[in-house]
Amino acid sequence: MRPSLRLLDAALIERILAEARDLLDSLGVEVHNPALLETLAGHGARVDRATARAHLGAALVDRALASAPREFRLHDALGRETHHFGAGQVSFTPGSAAIHILDGETGQMRAPVTADYIRYVKVVSGLPHLASQSTAFIPADVPSRISDSYRLFLSLLYGEKPVVTGAFTIEAFELMKDLQLAVRGTGEALREKPLAIFSCCPTAPLKWSDVTSQNVVDCATWGIPVEFISMPLSGFMAPVTLVGSLVQHAAETLSGVVISQITRPGAPVLWGGSPAIFDLRYETTPMGAVETMMMDCAYSEIGHSLGLPTQAYIALSDAKALDAQAGLETGIGATLAALSGIDSVSGPGMLDFESCQSLEKLVVDDEICAMTQRLVRGIEPKDDFPARPLFEELLREKHLLIARHTRRHLRSEIAFPGPVIDRANRARWLEEGGLTLGQRARREVARLIEAWQPSALGDGVKRELVRRMEGEARRHGMDALPEREA
């Protein structure tokens, strides 16, 4: 039996979706994209061009839900399958788009640069429980107009894992798509083996900007998977009640599914999001709040009820350092996410309200991911019945250390953690340096960077990635890209 968490019953899910559909039909959704408004009108939406509002009726929503794929796969830069969304797997990816990095040397948050990003890719390449890389933070040593594509460029140049990313402008999509084409070769090959997921965010409440709505259209056109990141802010830009916020999340996400599916039926999507409560005391959006996590898990239940794979920004923390708060918020989030069966969990490494990545936290969080993945494998009998022969062996031999049963099941039954988790007795811990978690994590970051092997992408592909990125940099007034280490 796979252990699971349920927060909503079927009747409540049905009511939330019915209310969301009513909002889309009666109040509609603002779409600041004239061409898309016309497309929506062409597919039966009632469009008020003066207010840029599209009213999405039940038939249009039903058609979109019917054509959205129940499952899809993701592949790494070399074409190997890494994810099968919709098949019940829980995959983790680092939290993305931070504006700061927690400097492992100084313990201070600062603006990240190219060298930091390369170190990040090297670390995430070696972490076994993070199935993809995300464009985790924004290098500050390139112009902001190319900072989105530049992250993807570095990820594809140095890493092999698929990438969870996003475009900050309509224009940037073109290069980000071309970088993927450089890896795959053709549009058909890219559609067949998607390499990246793009986060596309509606604006609360019930609104799509021209940039994010066009990103949805462009991704659907090229068969690039999209995760919709609806961000209701409970008590501020959404009802304070969790159910009310879930209604808003469902309406915004359904509208994203409609935009995607009218562009190209069958375009791959994840029912994702990043809702949060609003802490009125500090005017902040805590991702580590239990109510935030409850909303994540609950909307994932709603997405699964529609047959769609899901995504959430969970398993992260609002702490400012790799401290106990970072561990407890990330650990609780990852556990709840795994028990909820969220298909793609975005969060590891992230601190400070999704604004700061930490390489040291990333290696710690990788262990949390491992523990939760073991948890959802549950407790299953494995050569345990009848029990008597094994106990006869135990009584006869006085231990089972080398029993065939032990040898067969030890490594699959027990998830042994890596070196950042301390399980030595105190004497051994002291003998090995008495290192704190932070010190062990720093040592592991250094080891992973040292152990990194260059991506096996062909040199020709890498040269093409560089050529395209340098061309884009020149268009934005940069003579040369920042220097890169090997």
């Binding site: 250390l401 032990t406 030890l410 070196p419 030595a424 007795n425 004497a427 051994r428």
Partner: protein
């Protein structure tokens, strides 16, 4: 592959059931028994021990390899009669009087045997005098004492004092271990070493034997 390297590799891969067959094959190929022992069995176990120290493999892997080594060694023993079968050392081991806990002690015994030591396991609830008697009777150079209870730890001191009283200090070393036992306690009672876990106990015993040789 060289047959001796194959023996070592089999131990490293945990193919304990292949080792005896390979040793037979090596003998048929007229390899010297001492070469088979040193360049095959011991070379393989050295690699296994190193992997265990680096935590690349687990305790069962070491024990499986040790089982393979002994299967091979049984074939060599008659042929090594003249040179004698080398032993890492002889140790008397037990949980001290009043202490019926023996899981940790058993683990240490298994590990010591795997590392090539002759182990005389006296069991649990063993009085001080019996440890020292057994060491003298069997020519052991190390006594290993285990305790889980703080109330039974003083028996360890009794053993150390008895070793001194019989004039064995220096020739018979005492190592102590168990959950409440620390390096500081070992120093306080005058024991020669403290092992903080089974693997560490093997290293410490090896060092005691080497120092006493």
């Amino acid at each position: 592959m060289d047959i001796l390297k194959e023996i070592a590799a089999s131990l490293e891969r945990g193919e304990d059931d292949r080792v005896a067959g390979l040793v037979r094959q090596a003998l048929e190929e007229r390899c010297a028994p001492l070469d088979i022992l040193n360049r095959g069995l011991i070379a393989g176990m050295d690699v296994v021990g190193e992997q265990f120290r680096k935590r690349e493999i687990f305790l069962p892997d070491v024990l499986i390899a040790a089982r393979g080594m002994y299967a091979g060694l049984d074939l060599l023993k008659p042929l090594l009669a003249q040179e004698g079968v080398p032993s890492a050392g002889r140790i008397v081991l037990g949980s001290v009087r009043g202490d019926l806990h023996d899981i940790g002690k058993n683990l240490v015994a298994i590990m010591l045997k795997g590392a090539g030591f002759d182990v005389l396991d006296l069991g649990a609830d063993v009085p001080a005098q019996r440890f020292v008697d057994a060491a003298q009777e069997h020519g052991a150079t190390v006594i290993g004492l285990s305790a889980l209870l703080t109330t039974t730890m003083p028996v360890m001191k009794e053993v150390v004092e008895l070793v001194r009283a019989r004039g064995l200090a220096g020739r018979v070393k005492v190592i102590v271990g168990g959950a409440p036992v620390s390096e500081a306690w070992a120093r306080e009672i005058g024991a020669d070493a403290h092992g903080y876990d089974a693997a560490n106990a093997v290293e410490r015993v090896r060092a005691l034997v080497a120092a006493g040789a």
